[in-house]
Subunit: 210 residues, 2 copies
DNA sequence: GAATAAGTTGAGGTGTTCCTCAAGTTGGGC
DNA sequence: GCCCAACTTGAGGAACACCTCAACTTATTC
């Protein structure tokens, strides 16, 4: 009764348990080894054979598609916090700080946002949602005359690329370095700091990734 | 007579030819495949067996140590140009533009500067020389009151990390993007743009790499 | 033009990760 | 308690990159 909409198939109890163990293991391993961590490590950590992993998740992307959105959800909370900030510039800053804090805590997220928008549909879907939020935060700060007018969504993507590397490189030796870089960068994003772009810099930004 | 100071050993003619072919091939392959390119590719491009490559260069680092400084030399010319610029700020900008132009033209250099000061002694030696030049350029711009006072050499290293990723990511799809990011960043580095750092940002910079 | 030291070769061993599949195990309905 | 579909297992094949070394080739010297 009522399992008409259950869709796929009910899993056997042991299979369900293994699936969960795999998801937990994947979350951990991906978080600190990054998105390219060997799947064998995940299977081992889950106490399960590699065959079982492939049984449940035929590709690495399938596994990521289950694990990533969970982390990506944190991003929505951050967007909300940012919009809740009364001052639009502060909101923009809160958003960036939150975003990079997440990235610095989770290598998977860092990789995902970098390599990224090139992943499984579920994932890029979540990214797209994040993009919309970001766009609103940017627009609000610009309308208030606080954020320089020529800053675009594509520039945010580029900034994410830049910071992802800084985070990767300093995570162990000097965590927090990214806050310093961000401070400098933010000072260049204030409306009153804006100078003409360097000659040769593209002024029309072809959207970086679809 | 007079080969007392010749040091190592005179190479046989064919060996010398092969060595040259290897260096040329390495320069090309490293430049567009990056520092981790398979050594087999280099041997093949040189028209020589993999054994011969290992014969001449026992490790990847040994090969890099011959090829990199050659490219790194371009950096010295850029430093010179920068110091020749009458305006200290312009000099600073010229230096950064030159540096990143090099990086965007040569994946090897990009990787080397990123991963980098962790390489063979010859290489890190050359880096150290570059560091000294950079330090002078920074100091000059700061003494003129143009570059914000809290910008350090370690921040330059961090900036290089950041830009290396931007360059890697946009090289094919949108080259020149790095100029846009640099424009924004520079606007944050002007003395008059300086605001207090974000809370949590390290204000004393432990030198990033030895 | 022989002799030989110098140099070259590439098949093959090592290690890593990917992924598959035939054989074995087990949950759960009867 | 039996049975079978569902699930698990891990050895092993494929791909790639590393590096070595015994057998071969060649430049040079006399």
């Amino acid at each position: 009764m009522g399992d008409m909409a259950a869709g796929p198939k009910p899993l056997r109890s042991d299979a369900a348990r293994n699936r969960d163990k795999l998801l937990v293991a994947a979350t951990e391993i991906f978080a600190d080894r990054g998105i390219d961590a060997p799947l064998e490590h995940i299977a081992r950590r889950a106490g399960v054979s590699i065959g079982t992993l492939y049984n449940h998740f035929p590709t690495r992307e399938a596994l990521l598609a289950e694990v990533l959105p969970q982390q990506l959800a944190a991003l929505e909370r951050i967007s909300a916090d940012a919009m809740a900030e009364p001052d639009p510039w502060d909101g923009f800053v809160v958003f960036l700080e939150g975003l990079f804090t997440l990235q610095s805590q989770d290598q998977m997220l860092n990789d995902a946002l970098t390599q990224g928008f090139t992943l499984a549909t579920d994932v890029s879907q979540a990214c797209r949602q994040g993009s919309l939020d970001a766009e609103r935060i940017i627009a609000r700060a610009q309308e208030a005359g606080r954020l320089r007018a020529d800053f675009t969504m594509a520039d945010l993507v580029t900034l994410i690329w830049a910071m992802s590397q800084v985070i990767r490189e300093t995570m162990d030796s000097a965590p927090g370095t990214w806050r310093r870089v961000l401070s400098f960068f933010l000072d260049g994003l204030r409306a009153e700091a804006a100078h003409p772009l360097l000659p040769g810099a593209p002024s029309v930004v072809t959207d970086n990734r679809p």
